[in-house]
Symmetry: C2
Subunit: 430 residues, 2 copies
Amino acid sequence: MEKGVNIGLMGLGVIGGGVAKALMEKSDIISTQAGCPIRIRRILERRRERATVVGVDATLLTDDPRHIIDDPEVDIIVELLGGEYPALDLIKEGIIRGKNVVTANKEVMAKHGPQLLSLAGDNGVDILFEASVGGGIPLIAPFKFDLAANEISAIYAIINGTTNYILTRMAREGVSFHEALSHAQGLGYAEADPRNDIEGIDAVYKLAIMATLAFHTEVGPQDIYHEGISRITSLDFRYAQELGYQIKLLAIAKRSGEAIEVRVHPTFVPEEYLLAKVDGVYNAVQVEGDLVGRVLFYGEGAGPSATSSAVLSDIMELCRRINLGVKVSHELHLDPTMSIRPVSDIETRYYLRMSVADRPGVLAQITRILGDNLISISSVIQKGQSPSSKTAEIVIMTHPAKEAAMMKAMGEMGELDVVREISNLVRVEG
Amino acid sequence: MEKGVNIGLMGLGVIGGGVAKALMEKSDIISTQAGCPIRIRRILERRRERATVVGVDATLLTDDPRHIIDDPEVDIIVELLGGEYPALDLIKEGIIRGKNVVTANKEVMAKHGPQLLSLAGDNGVDILFEASVGGGIPLIAPFKFDLAANEISAIYAIINGTTNYILTRMAREGVSFHEALSHAQGLGYAEADPRNDIEGIDAVYKLAIMATLAFHTEVGPQDIYHEGISRITSLDFRYAQELGYQIKLLAIAKRSGEAIEVRVHPTFVPEEYLLAKVDGVYNAVQVEGDLVGRVLFYGEGAGPSATSSAVLSDIMELCRRINLGVKVSHELHLDPTMSIRPVSDIETRYYLRMSVADRPGVLAQITRILGDNLISISSVIQKGQSPSSKTAEIVIMTHPAKEAAMMKAMGEMGELDVVREISNLVRVEG
């Protein structure tokens, strides 16, 4: 058994509490597998009562981060505060003081990952962040190591449990978005302010982290087009099922040549795809590589227990390295030739649903606009609504078309006086 | 860029050829990601024509393994000969001469893994074997590292592509086992002598490797109960579907307390499970851990390209370590308290199909035997066959029962003169 390793834990909230508990309850297996004892030396947490709730020694708590950053005995800072600030500054200061860092902070890693990795390299330490994406599902290590020989061509990810839970309830029970959101909030799967999840921001952070590693290029949140799920209605689910699709919030990153496209939006996924069968709060990430073909990683994407699994594996990895006297095991090698394609340049298939005047010649006007914009149609469903409303509903599935062309066509269709409403436009994969 | 690393490749067959090709074609990405150039220094292969087929310099070929083992310039032996001998001896000699080893050899690792890891540790080198299970799907690293903080409670694996392809054809098309096997052979998914796959031996090897890592205990092929798929008929598929199941060849390892059970056999899997949806030659491994919950890894389980992905990631990992001057990153810490449960002690649910005389009181005789053996029934289907045959078919699904009790009941039922044939007994999970 080698020299012990001391942890400075930042944050004793839900995740921090879970990690502290697991470290205490599983100290045997962790010490054996890591090859040395791991001790919590100090915990940054203002709320003193958290010590009792979690069951840690209250004297470990401090409200001054310097008690961790300046302590020469602390080998590893485990940052579980969440949010961009003050987490970012504390991580930076820790690195500069020669501490290794483990973090579950997707926002910090999405916005500042490459800079932090480079700062860590300069200071002879490492920053590990397996817990920042997909809870306990191994998703960072595969990109860094297991799939490193591959040229990755695509990532398709269901990477936000809240939205997947809501979409699953809507698909199964035909309930509205707002009803499904309330269910999710009641069960603790959605926060009181659910915007980060619902609008796809959380998925954007996670996709930025994965895409940066997979494509060896800096992808930040600002590079990723995103659309949330609140416009999806039970009607869209009915048409999707009629057409053989499920609707999922997909985070997509694709490479073609030296450019990548990165986007998060509701997506029609063919129902025979494994991704279409990922239900509830579960996450799944499908990766396509030139050697490995298609691989998929599936599991619980959040929660204190699953997240602890990843945080602890990162801590154990650092312990092994500290005892071997090794500093950094992985450097980000960026490929300067890669660029990010603007969303207007992407090409995909579309599902389009609109309300139109129920009279002759309407479909002809709409399809003419699509044709003029070089968008070809793969199928059309037209259904009369209540006779009194004198409107009909048209659903169109297109063949692959340019996003810019579709946006232009949407504008032109919106100006037709026979079009009452363009109800939804959803991109289609597969 | 650090000092280069020299490979001694053993075997230029399908897999070896794939690895050699990938090493040459992708030398840029591999060198960048590994941090140093990787060169093939020598190749053990008798068939000189393979050099032309693969496109490597024929002067690299040798038919004397000593040209690799005794060459002080060779840093890593990549063993892709397959089979137990001479691979085992060559690996051992290489380790003793201070070479790191990468192998895709499931038979060697299943039968001798712990000994080889210990020999490697004693000699200050490592043996990596990611490619021995599941092609390019990361399955070894997750047990060694990513999930290392977990107490693993179960592994359920579809880990043989040949049998999964055959079972998928049988399920979808209602064809017989032999017809599906011929299809598989025609497509190159099954070998001319398919016994290793069909009888579950290949899956036994892979399960032994995973269970040894997951449960920190030595599990060898001889410890694993196995049954092949050749007794499954299209009738079983029809009943399975009627009852809401798919039939898969599952490799199962479960822990309860300090004992584990390990077995490979055809299994009824509820059709809503993700594992039931893994079709064709694809593999999937579901792992359950106390922290991580349920995770699943899915992908192509075989083939030169997918296997190369794993072999190359192991080579790259060794390169990083050689350049850091680090020897071993992972040791097998065995838990001496763990034992392996005999199959007679397991408890599971069963599907039982039999032909019986079509006359009154038969079902009573059968169910009495089950009841006397404390096996309770969850459902029964009885169907008359052709009136002329005067036989009926009975299908029984049981609640969880002891394997020993079921075997005793099977013996007793077999002796009933009303029982024409016990057609099949298949274990049920979920």
